[in-house]
Symmetry: C2
Subunit: 281 residues, 2 copies
């Protein structure tokens, strides 16, 4: 049986374009979370460099390869503290720019995820859509899937990760006020409909007139809120993640007179080819 | 341009197994809703006959063909009032039993929908899973899609209807207390993620120890609540449905510095074959 994990969701601000400052802050938060027993520490989208760049050149100047400098630094902290972390950054790969998450542990880079769904906002006006499939990563028995911000609006993002076996889906975000229904309703729905743990980790602070609203939450597979920020201020949320809970998809109520399994009860043969088609019918 | 429609969602009780009484009540509600200007009146799941049958024989005894007796009766009311209605019933087709919605107008039966996702509860312990694909029906310019209760837990149900062009998705339900997260969060998410009107119409009352919780709601394409029941008492909700709103999928905020389209921005090529596969990977 996989053991439970203590998860930390770090709702925080950063300084646009100031990677050394941000790395210093992130390292301090890693230490704080590890002191509370966290084994996996998740930061917001683009927390390494900020998000609201005004040009492609400006964004590119604050991007780095993955693995690259920040992975090297954070690996050392993870090794010292015996923890794992997921954090957002801008990645450059040749001439291309991606909105990326790095999953780093004591041995270095374990995996990265390039944001698949892009809104026209901030740095995403200049990034290339993620070109690698959704994937699930095994952390000593915990199966972790990664989405970023706008991915969360598309039910397919969490659904595909669930069908790949995810126990926990993390959603680092940069939610502005217009995205408010996401923390209030969508995040809980993603956990509930997939019966997985779901952790949305948002920015706070403001960049060039764009304010980030906080409201991070960690939701259990049954839709229970395990940890919630009700503000737009910095804080760290903690919750215990038990992979066995996410794998018990069958729900029995009323002494067996009411049973359901929102994964096994799917009817894929009735969904037709539409979900994968490019065009609307 | 299609004209706006006034929709009525009839949250009501019925008497288990007493079709004449229920038809009489439904006819009265049709008249009441039409008096308020409604052109489309939606009733809960299985409202014609009730839901909590204890055996297949008992359920089958209260099922009827579609079209059949209740379609004949309600067609006459629709013709007199110049309206359309959607209502739930148990349908028999040879030896098979389905949990069905009938869409009826002045000319008679327009379409029916057989519930595709079945929980193990009430009459659904004895019904056959819906065997016909999701479909959208054109009511003088309003494109209507139908789901039933547990279908709403599966994002694929509303997604397929949206990709088929639905402006409005109706979800007649029989939600017990255990399904409470559906009205509180999932219904709003379905409207928001698909940018369609979404109307969930629940039962009230109690059948053989199963209590139905009401909490019906009509949600706009932007996730705004247009009409809400906050109780488990009978009432009729009204809202104006403007198909052109549901077809404007592109959202522009902040003078064009923030734009998105939750349908066009999908990346079907990244969802892989998983969404249609039978087995989990």
């Amino acid at each position: 049986m996989p053991r439970p994990w203590k998860l930390a969701a770090v709702q925080m601000d950063c300084h646009l374009g100031d990677i050394p400052f941000n790395l210093h802050q992130m390292t301090a938060r890693l230490r704080e979370a590890a002191n509370e027993g966290a084994k996996l520490v998740v930061f917001p989208e683009c927390i390494l460099c900020g998000y609201c760049f005004e040009s492609r050149d400006e964004a590119f100047a604050h991007a780095e390869p993955v693995p690259g400098p920040s992975v090297e630094v954070l690996m050392l902290t993870c090794r010292e503290l015996e923890i794992y972390t997921v954090y957002g950054l801008l990645e450059r790969d040749g001439d291309r720019l991606f909105n990326t998450l790095a999953l780093v542990g004591p041995e270095g880079l374990i995996a990265s995820y390039r944001k698949i769904h892009l809104p026209f906002l901030g740095a995403d006006r200049f990034t290339t859509p993620g070109d690698r499939p959704f994937a699930v990563h095994d952390l000593n028995g915990l199966k972790l899937g990664m989405n970023i911000c706008y991915d969360g609006s598309f039910p397919e993002s969490a659904r595909v990760l669930t069908l790949l076996g995810a126990d926990l889906i993390v959603l680092p975000t940069n939610w502005p006020p217009e995205a408010r229904l996401n923390p209030l309703h969508v995040v809980l729905t993603r956990a509930f409909e997939n019966r997985v743990y779901y952790a949305a980790v948002n920015r706070v602070g403001e960049e060039r007139g764009v304010r980030f609203i906080g409201l991070s939450r960690i939701v259990a597979p049954d839709g229970t809120l395990l940890a919630v920020s009700e503000s737009d201020q910095a804080e760290i949320l903690f919750a215990e993640i038990d992979p066995t809970q996410a794998r018990r998809k069958r729900i029995v109520h009323a002494a067996g007179k009411y049973e359901l399994d929102r994964i096994a009860d799917r009817r894929p043969e009735m969904y037709g080819p539409l979900l994968q088609r490019e065009e609307r019918a």
